[in-house]
């Protein structure tokens, strides 16, 4: 019997893994990828609550999270391409200033 607790535990574990990725990876692209894990794990929590409460609102919220994630990825990747073009590398540690 899989309960709400199981789903929330899985969501929490995925979120923790994504958090570790955001903190430890230094490549901007991989930080963006780890952010996607964070968003996906919160989506799982929304769907789990939606099922537990018998309410469709949680699933609607996941739809909006997907839209925001798509917009975030397009702009984030455009900035990453621009940074790579300007500086030749994508290391977050070397980006101390936003001006060039």
């Amino acid at each position: 019997m899989i309960t709400l607790g199981h789903l929330l535990a899985l969501s929490g574990i995925l979120f923790a893994i994504g958090l570790v990725g955001v903190v430890t990876r230094r490549n901007v692209l991989l930080i963006l990828l780890s952010l996607e894990i964070l968003l996906a794990s919160s989506n799982l929590a929304f769907v789990a609550f939606s099922r537990a409460r018998g309410d469709l609102s949680g699933q609607i919220m996941v739809f909006f999270v997907l839209v925001v994630a798509a917009a975030e990825v397009t702009v984030g990747l455009a900035i990453a391409v621009l940074l790579a073009r300007q500086t030749g590398k994508l290391n977050a540690d070397e980006m101390r200033d936003l001006k060039w």
């Binding site: 979120f15 989506n43 609607i60």
Partner: protein, 165 residues
Amino acid sequence: MVHPAVFYTLAGFMVVGALGVVAARVPVYAVLGLVLTLFAMSALFVCLGAFFLAAVQVLVYAGAVMVLFLFVVMLLDLAPETLLRARSRTLTAAGILLGLLFLWQAARVTIAFTLPPARAVSEVSGTTAAVGRELFTTYALPFELASVLLLVGIIGAIVLAKKKL
């Protein structure tokens, strides 16, 4: 309800894929790890009755967004991450500590928080028809605002990436 064997198999795929994203040295493998995670998650969505979201997750997330990522990774031809060995070890230790702290706090909050007593909940079925009806009635304004957000994203990406307008 989800069968435990199905749940644990999918959960295993998700965790392995996520660990792949965090640990892979080569960026392409990291992207493929995320694709695995998202596919397993959409399979779990089907088991939970969120059919529309499962389809959208595969089409938009695992399809479009991840292809975009792969294009950028291959376009930029990134060298594997290079870091000083000592620095990388400290960073990894700090990251894992942070992750464990988060899990501990989240577990404490979740255990302390009790859901209102389970009333006779009707099974929700997130079919395209049901989600669409909700989206175009109760959530019509947020839906339109989401389209504006996507438009802003498109224009922003073009303005940023184009050398000369």
